[in-house]
């Protein structure tokens, strides 16, 4: 989007008013969203083409284009990409686009004088940056920072003031903090349009920021800020300038500013379009797109695996709920647990471990204990050496442990494992009656 006066020529979909980078993509979009048969999903090329297809193949009539906004649903209009769009709608579109860009131009420069150019493009950084050098308004910077915003025509110089006066402003600001929080977000956007200036400013900003706001959650945001700020800067700098003009640094000036620039409805969305470090806590959606680290379903490292968040009512995730891998889950099944050699561990503990998520954390712990795997011989010693309290747990496991140990302990298998202690004559646990 770097060429001048070309915005109205950017491919857009007549049916739903969406913008596209490329006509090819626009056509793909139209085929998939507007010219797709709802019965057989065949993609046609035009609206009339879709109507004819439905009639001939499915014997169904359709009267409106799917997924189209009201007023743009005419199925008989032959539109392909940008071709076939009625001239009236083209002009409407051009006008709307012009209005939109003019609005933002106005907000930034303030209505009165100086429309250096009615450019649609975004490099306001260019013209507005030059101002402090060109005009004596630069002289206003110091008084502005100290005494509050000077309302009026010099709002046009505001953004550069925000930039040029930065160092003194920063020092002026900390004392203002207690009353400032609502206004702080207004200040940084003053920097925003100075896209060319952003990089040099950025290193200045974070050191200034932490002392400025004692808000919880700030520190984590500060490191994120330099990363996301370029993302933020590339977002429409237009609304940023709009809010910069309307939300200057000091509350008194806010009211004054608002009376001056009354009709321009600018005070609406400044909280949204501010320095990423500030907005993270309040408006996650706008920044979440660029910094995707914040709100994700966590897979915690605790022994109890986190459960997955479900997708939605219409989607089902074909995966067990715990957030452990499929192989880990399968490894918890008794028939595999039996095979995992664990010298030093009672086989009972291994076999009777229920295949539930809670055990997921235990298993690695068990494995850690025996660093070497000498083989199955040792578990027997473990059983004998184990505390007698291990016996009831052993019985709780039921047959499988016996089955496993039978080859190892044939002499001791004296019959059905009814009376627990009877099978282990050599082991005389205190309190047992055998």
């Amino acid at each position: 989007m770097g060429r001048k006066k070309k915005k109205q020529l950017k491919p857009w979909c007549w049916y739903c008013n969406r913008d596209f980078d490329d006509e090819k993509i626009l056509i793909q979009h139209q085929k998939a969203k507007h010219f797709k048969c709802h019965i057989c999903h065949k993609k046609l090329y035009t609206g009339p083409g879709l109507a004819i297809h439905c009639m001939q193949v499915h014997k169904e009539t359709i009267d409106s284009v799917p997924n189209a906004i009201p007023g743009r649903t005419d199925i008989e209009l032959e539109i392909y990409g940008m071709e076939g769009i009625p001239e009236k709608d083209m002009q409407d579109r051009r006008r709307v686009l012009e209005q939109k860009s003019q609005e933002s131009q106005k907000k930034k420069q303030n209505q009165d004088d100086s429309d250096e150019d009615d450019d649609d493009d975004d490099d306001e950084a260019g013209p507005s940056f030059q101002q402090p050098a060109a005009q004596p308004q630069a002289a206003y910077m110091p008084p502005m920072t100290q005494a509050g915003m000077h309302p009026g025509p010099h709002a046009q110089g505001m953004p550069p003031a925000g930039y040029a006066g930065m160092p003194p402003m920063l020092t002026g600001i900390p004392p203002m903090i207690p009353g400032m929080p609502p206004v702080m977000p207004g200040m940084p956007p003053g920097m925003m349009p100075m896209r060319g200036m952003m990089p040099p400013m950025m290193p200045g900003m974070p050191p200034g920021m932490p002392p400025l706001v004692a808000r919880p959650g700030m520190p984590p945001m500060a490191p994120a800020a330099p990363v996301t700020a370029p993302g933020m800067a590339s977002r429409p700098a237009v609304p940023a300038t709009q809010s910069a003009a309307s939300k200057p640094l000091f509350p008194s000036a806010v009211q004054a500013q608002q009376t001056v620039s009354g009709p321009s409805s600018t005070t609406s969305d400044s909280p949204k379009v501010t320095f990423p470090a500030y907005t993270q806590p309040s408006s996650a959606p706008s920044v979440a797109a660029s910094s995707s680290t914040v709100a994700k379903p966590p897979a915690t490292v605790t022994s109890k695996p986190a459960t997955l968040t479900t997708l939605s009512a219409t989607s089902k995730l074909m995966h067990p709920d715990e957030d452990i891998s499929l192989e880990e889950r399968r490894a918890q099944l008794p028939r595999y647990q039996r095979l995992i050699p664990r010298p030093g561990q009672t086989a009972a503990a291994a076999a009777s471990a229920p295949p539930s998520g809670a055990v997921g954390g235990m298993i690695p712990a068990q494995q850690v204990i025996p660093p070497q795997q000498p083989g199955m011989r040792h578990p027997i010693h473990g059983q004998y050496g184990g505390p007698p309290q291990g016996m009831p747990g052993y019985m709780g496991g039921g047959m499988p442990p016996y089955g496993q140990n039978a080859p190892m302990v044939p002499p001791y298998q004296t019959g059905p494992p009814g009376p627990p202690m009877g099978i282990r004559p050599p082991v005389m646990s205190p309190g047992s009656r055998y």
Binding site: L311, T314, L317, M318, P320, L326, A331, Y336
Partner: protein
């Protein structure tokens, strides 16, 4: 071509044909298949590791099992060091190498928890293992012996070698890029761009980046160069999802394999489908017929003529009955794997 010629040679192959260009391996594992890997030098030999605690070597052209060796517990991954040595590891935490000429085993070393991944890096001549003990270990294949232990932030779920770099995918959706020649520090720490658990990572043959799949029917194509212009090219797409009765069923994408020549890749999901994707044009090239059950592993042969497809139930729905696990060998054509020129 070798498959068809083999069909004339061996009648067992003919009985196992599951399509004009596809057959099922006989004497396959008796439990789930965890990994399939082709020999680096030949499309004739395939290693198959399994939950039945074995690693088997197949002669694919004759559809016969040449060799089999055991672990104490289910084997989770296997890899060729060279055409005559197989390496494998699994739930018994033991890393084994097996000489395919002498049919002899050696235990090279162990991890502290099950070994999940075994890969070879030809550029640095080192074997790499990743484990649920949250470490990656390097092994010198010639001696063979341990060449270092490197802690990861979480359990290792998948890893892949790109030239002399190692890409590790762990639990908690972390991705780490290591320089195998300098393991003193992590070269890049990333987070998966997908919101759900990482299932598989495979590096592009051209080493420019990697493909990462999650349990939520989504695949991301990412690049290793951290510069902004290159990072802008990364993207993700949904796949392996089926719509049934108005509910969208979203399946884990368990397996990824790259075609060495075309830099296109195949993905296999728990829906039983295999798709082939062209990452540069962002298009799907092909989808094969549905396999009997989940795709657990995929491997293209080094010349790109064959694709081994492990259709093996992975307990996504719990321990229920399921179609038999099997390995299919499919001859793939350029039409299925080559990017379209438009």
């Amino acid at each position: 071509m070798s498959g068809r010629a083999a069909a004339e040679k061996s009648s067992t192959v003919r009985f196992n044909m599951t399509g004009a260009n596809e057959f099922k391996l006989t004497q396959g594992p008796e439990d789930g298949v965890s990994a399939v890997k082709f020999s680096p030098s030949s499309a004739q030999f395939l290693l198959v590791s399994s939950w039945d605690c074995t690693v088997r070597l197949f002669d694919v052209s004759a559809n016969s099992m040449r060799m089999k060796y055991q672990h104490l517990a289910p084997v989770l991954d296997c890899a060729f060091y060279d055409p005559t040595h197989a390496w494998s590891g699994g739930l018994d935490s033991q890393l084994k190498t097996h000489d395919l000429n002498t049919d002899q085993d050696t235990i090279v070393g162990t991890h502290d928890a099950p070994i999940r991944c075994v890969e070879y890096c030809p550029e640095v001549n080192v074997m790499v293992t990743g484990s649920w003990d949250m470490s990656v270990r390097l092994w010198d294949p010639r001696t063979p012996c341990n060449a270092g232990t490197f802690t990861q932030p979480e359990k290792v779920y998948t890893l892949s070698v790109a030239g002399d770099r190692l890409i590790v995918g762990t639990a908690g959706r972390r991705v780490l890029v290591w320089d195998l020649r300098n393991m003193g520090y992590v070269q890049q720490r990333r987070e998966s761009s997908l919101k759900y658990q990482t299932r598989c990572i495979r590096a592009f043959p051209n080493k420019q980046g990697y493909v990462l799949s999650s349990i939520e029917g989504r695949v991301a194509v990412e690049y290793l160069d951290p510069s902004l212009e290159v990072q802008k090219k990364k993207y993700a797409f949904k796949c392996h999802r089926l719509k049934e009765n108005g509910i969208e069923q979203v399946y884990p994408v368990n397996a990824i394999s790259f075609h060495s020549v075309h830099n296109t890749f195949a993905t296999g999901g728990s829906d039983g489908f295999v798709n082939i994707w062209d990452p540069f044009n962002k298009k799907r090239l092909c989808q094969f017929h549905r396999y009997p059950t989940s795709i657990a592993s995929l491997a293209f042969s080094s010349d790109g003529s064959l694709l081994a497809i492990a259709s093996s139930y992975m307990q996504e729905q719990g321990d229920v009955s399921h179609p038999a696990d099997a390995v299919f060998i499919r001859q793939v054509t350029d039409a299925e794997t080559k990017p379209k020129s438009t």
